[in-house]
């Protein structure tokens, strides 16, 4: 006890309650300056006609938002973004689940395969984009060559150069990159299910599919939904893949909200309108997060 007294006497200057806040201060400052302030400043800018070319900074009320509502390019990007989010999240969850079910069985080289699955995730997205640009190249791409030689297609497809197939190519690249990672997340969920449950069901004569539907899937559902939620929120922000692979083209067929906003900000330098797009995007993402979270809590409550 005596030692404790010594230590308190040695540091009389700061009261005890202040220490935790002092340790949290750098984090608060960093997130405040780089995350929260820009959101508010973006909201403020969206009410102005700020332009880095003309130098104007006047308040214009809601006119940017009025313009946004009737801007065909915005709705085009909005639809693409939602479409991409739904399809890629759905495919990644399904394929990830399939991979996870394989991985939770015992077989040789399982460690090697699990390690290999981290490769797509660890690779820079810019490299992934370039890699798929080469794989799916319209002239010398190896995908076209394989499809041609196996007789699936009759002539080369100009994958990401054709408005018909460009979005599909981007979705394929994204699913390639993210599905294995999803599988690893789901695998930890599957492995936390006690094997005694599945063993007991097998003893009772239940088949593989029965075990999956009645035991594994219900118990995995919380993990599945949370992983899906995080993935959807992440997919909604997609930028790197689109920017590098197609730049939003051809004919705006792959334009997403992030690439549209980037062009508005850094090509035309119309920061007033650009921040209107990003603020609308932030609101959509926040609504998406709240709705998905509520639905998730509801579903998990109902199941468990």
């Amino acid at each position: 006890m005596g030692r404790v007294e010594v230590s308190t006497r040695r540091r009389p200057a700061l009261p005890r309650w202040i220490w935790p806040w002092l340790l949290l201060l750098p984090t608060f400052m960093s997130l405040g300056a780089v995350a929260f302030w820009p959101i508010l400043e973006g909201l403020r800018l969206s009410f102005t006609n700020t332009s880095l070319i003309s130098g104007s900074t006047d308040y214009v009320g809601l006119s940017n938002y009025v313009g946004l509502m009737s801007d065909g390019r915005f709705w085009n990007a909005w639809v693409h973004t939602v479409w991409f989010t739904v399809i890629s999240t759905g495919l990644e969850t399904l394929i990830g689940l399939g991979m996870a079910l394989i991985l939770c069985e015992r077989f040789r080289c399982r460690g090697l395969i699990r390690a290999a699955m981290l490769v797509p995730w660890a690779m820079p997205t810019v490299v992934t984009s370039k890699m798929f640009a080469w794989l799916f190249d319209g002239q010398n791409g190896v995908i076209n060559w394989v499809l041609l030689n196996s007789g699936i297609i009759q002539s080369n497809i100009n994958w990401y150069g054709d408005p018909q197939t460009a979005m599909a190519t981007i979705i394929i690249a994204d699913v390639w990159k993210t599905a294995p990672f999803m599988a690893l997340l789901l695998l930890t969920g599957l492995q936390s299910i006690p094997t005694s449950l599945t063993e007991a069901a097998r003893m009772d004569g239940a088949r593989g599919w029965m075990i999956f539907w009645t035991i594994r899937l219900p118990l995995l559902l919380p993990t599945l939904l949370i992983a899906g939620l995080f993935r959807a929120l992440d997919a909604f922000r997609i930028f790197d893949l689109v920017y590098v692979l197609t730049g939003g083209g051809p004919a705006d067929s792959t334009e997403t909200l992030s690439t549209l906003a980037y062009k508005e900000l850094f090509s035309t330098l119309e920061f007033g309108y650009g921040t209107t797009v990003t603020t609308a995007m932030f609101i959509t993402e926040a609504l998406l997060a709240v709705i998905l979270c509520l639905w998730l809590v509801h579903t998990i409550r109902r199941v468990t």
């Binding site: 960093s30 080289c109 290999a116 390639w176 997340l185 969920g189 992983a227 995080f230 990003t278």
Partner: protein, 280 residues
């Protein structure tokens, strides 16, 4: 009724086929990129792709360093990513320690707010931050990128470290306090040394995030003095054709170290990420 042995065989077969498919899925695109890096442009455009380079060439690696000057991008990326990693570990571990070990009112609220930041669309932040950086004369500096990256990585770092600190028994804090250690002393002499495995994993995650980041690097830097690797590779174009071989060589150079790190630390990475993202 028990499963007949032919059914069991079929089951094994399906599992091994599935495993093979997963391996092909994960490894084959990069394998092709790897092979491309060692092939001549004329072989790449010949119409019949071959996995084994024939003739074998290092020309693309020479191009990447001599004419594209990849070494400068690598240097920039190293400086930015390593600084981000160390500062992030320092700041994040202090926050995680305070949240886990000290009496903080509303700690779960704070954790949720920190987590929510990781879901903000980055494009929403880039405009105002660009104006701020321009006003402060910080465009084309490492500092601006590092300051942004710290905030981008902090939520993950804080969450993973918080999760790890929570698993350390509280009795050791008590013991430290008995020995007259202050809060900072407990952090420095007890918690940090015990958390080395988690610090390594978290640091690796922070490093990979900073190394791969594209949007802010694209917006904030305009020349080779400060541009990072993703911006460099995205800008790889020749006048009359796409230099697929050069791009592949650069991809191999910047991805190979990541793959090695990931293979070495794979178990820890998966654990760390599930802690931060999925389990509570």
């Amino acid at each position: 009724m028990t499963q007949s042995s032919s059914q069991a065989m079929l089951r094994r077969g399906v599992i091994y086929l599935g495993a093979l498919l997963i391996l092909v899925w994960s490894a084959s695109p990069f394998l092709w990129q790897f092979s491309t890096a060692f092939q001549l442009d004329r072989a790449l455009t010949s119409g019949t792709p071959s996995l084994i380079p024939d003739p074998f060439t290092l020309e693309h690696f020479r191009n990447v360093f001599v004419s594209k000057q990849l070494q400068y991008y690598i240097l920039n990326s190293m400086i930015v990513s390593l600084t981000t990693t160390f500062l992030c570990l320092a700041i994040g571990s202090l926050a995680a320690f305070a949240l886990s070990r000290l009496n903080v009112k509303g700690r779960y609220g704070i954790l949720m707010v920190i987590l929510s930041v990781s879901m903000f669309p980055q494009i929403t932040l880039v405009g105002p931050l660009y104006i701020a950086a321009a006003t402060l004369g910080m465009l084309d500096t490492y500092t601006a990128l590092i300051l942004v990256y710290i905030a981008l990585v902090l939520p993950l770092v804080t969450w993973v470290l918080y999760g790890y600190f929570e698993t350390l028994p509280r009795e050791i804090d008590e013991a430290g306090r008995m020995d007259g250690l202050h809060a900072i002393g407990i952090y420095w002499f007890i918690i940090l040394p015990m958390s080395m495995p988690s610090l390594v994993t978290t640091g690796l995650l922070a490093f990979i995030t900073a190394w791969n980041e594209f949007l802010f690097a694209l917006a904030f830097t305009s020349n080779i003095d400060h541009q990072t690797i993703p911006v460099g590779i995205a800008g790889f174009t020749n006048l009359y054709y796409v230099p697929w071989g050069d791009i592949a060589a650069a991809s191999v150079i910047v991805t190979a170290p990541l793959i090695l790190l990931v293979l070495v630390f794979q178990r820890h990475i998966i654990e760390g990420l599930t802690q931060g993202g999925i389990k509570e």
